[in-house]
Symmetry: C2
Subunit: 294 residues, 2 copies
């Protein structure tokens, strides 16, 4: 077996908001019993499993009498739901990503200023559902510039963006929208870490023979990374853990790139890296190799 070169994205894994939410939750777990998250805290099954072992499980049933503390996940929740929780007996800890909270406030501001609010994002995503609740009853969700024909005779349009949307979609969308309206106010709420992760991943995908994208199959931003790599015509696998890696993937491969979504923990990325090195023949074989960081 020949030595394999691994290029790992510097920005792979936990972003600021996820790190913060996971820390808050582990801290709450230590403090007492009856701690639940409303739905999965982040889109990563392995982290959720680990949290469950610490005694913090996801729940959808807020009538459950066992709830003493309810943690609101990174994606945020609709305003009305939040308000009902304030009347309940349990304590609420808000682990909504601060960047999502900012986007919620911008959606409300645009609505208060009388703009027709557009949310650019995936209507099924919990973040977008939370944003909608702040954007007023006339707000609409669009997920591509093909949908722009829905905007007719609008004078004042305000836009907020799902924090994990790709920048090029925003660029195309706003470029087309501006000619259809008299006044346009845009809060570019795309999270910088998402944009930089996508950019770095794209650059790595160009330089390798194989890309491993690590993260929850239910994670939108991880799936986006995998889609991006596939579009670069490099062989790509989207996996959740190292156990999914097959030896034949690595066969005849000189360079492997590793990237990971914002909700993928460092230990999963490390395990993947080790497994590739083991299969690739430069695990503990004493040969000098790249540090894995570039």
């Amino acid at each position: 077996m020949s030595d394999i070169e691994i290029i790992k994205a510097k920005r792979a894994g936990f972003c600021f908001g996820v790190k913060r939410a996971v820390n808050i939750t582990f801290k709450a777990a230590k403090k007492g019993k009856g701690v639940f998250t409303l739905g999965p805290l982040i889109h990563n099954p392995q982290v959720i499993e680990k949290l469950c072992k610490e005694g913090v499980c996801p729940t959808e049933n807020t009538e459950d009498r066992n709830i003493q503390t309810l943690i609101i996940r990174t994606h945020g929740i609709p305003l009305e739901l939040y308000q009902t929780f304030l009347k309940k007996d349990f304590k609420v800890i808000d682990a909504t990503c601060p960047f999502v909270k900012k986007a919620q406030q911008y959606a409300k501001l645009l609505c208060d200023e009388g703009y027709q609010v557009i949310i650019l994002g995936d209507e099924k995503h919990p973040e977008v559902k939370s944003l909608m609740s702040y954007a007023g009853k006339d707000a609409i969700i669009l997920d591509s510039n093909q949908e722009l024909q829905k905007i007719k005779n609008k004078k004042r349009v305000g836009v907020v963006v799902q924090t994990t949307q790709p920048t090029n979609l925003l660029q195309e969308f706003i470029g087309k929208l501006v000619s259809r309206v008299s006044e346009l106010k845009v809060f570019n709420t795309i999270c910088n870490s998402t944009a930089l992760r996508l950019k770095e991943t794209k650059e790595i995908a160009r330089r390798v023979d194989l890309m491993i994208v690590a993260g929850g199959k239910n994670s939108a931003n991880t799936t986006q990374l995998a889609t991006l790599c596939n579009a670069s015509s490099v062989k790509t696998y989207h996996i959740e853990t190292s156990s999914e890696i097959k030896k034949e993937w690595i066969k005849d491969v000189a360079r492997v790139g590793i990237t990971a979504g914002a909700s993928t923990p460092e230990w999963i990325i490390s395990e993947i890296e080790s497994r590739i090195r083991d299969i690739g023949g430069n695990g503990d074989n004493g040969y000098p190799h790249e540090s894995g960081r570039n």
Copy 2:
């Protein structure tokens, strides 16, 4: 000679703002002597000549004791200049296009709201110079998306557009700008009549063998129409009057398109149409032909 078909743009010639300014000026000429326009009222030498015959000539020298009434032209003037006029002995009539006035107010609003103001337009154009005076001392003028690297680390950016800019430039510019800023507010101040005239001209250019673009050589919007036609690969002539038309242009031509800038009067367009019909062989020859409107 064979019959020639003429397709004349419905939106050729005077726009709302120009019509208004010319009417104001002819009315002022009738009322009394000592009426001057500050620079040429519109960018059309033939109209200016006609106004001069009525006794209203352009002047740049506002110290001239003969001035009793000074008319401000369609493109507007810088705010500071306007303020100095209010202290003078002469009467000021403001014939600034109402759409340009709106753009001036939007530039001021963006500045008052603390945005870094960008004016998208030609820095040499009098309208853009007038807009600048309302946009605050930090405002900058950009005329293409190539210049966007000048925008670095800007958080809140506000944009107004020279009213005669093409829509596709605005689209490209805003599409690129949005990814460089956190907050973007755009007043799409492109005049609808400019956009529609460009659109109609483009459609006609596709269907004819020859395009005649009528209007002042010093008119930005007329020049833009000529550039657009040339880009459509149709043989194009930008002329000011019918006397410039040469017989050989019409030879072997079946269909001619006529368009004209916003400052081109109807009588110039009519003379051009007649001259083409005369050369093309269906002037007063009794043959049935198209009405010239489509």
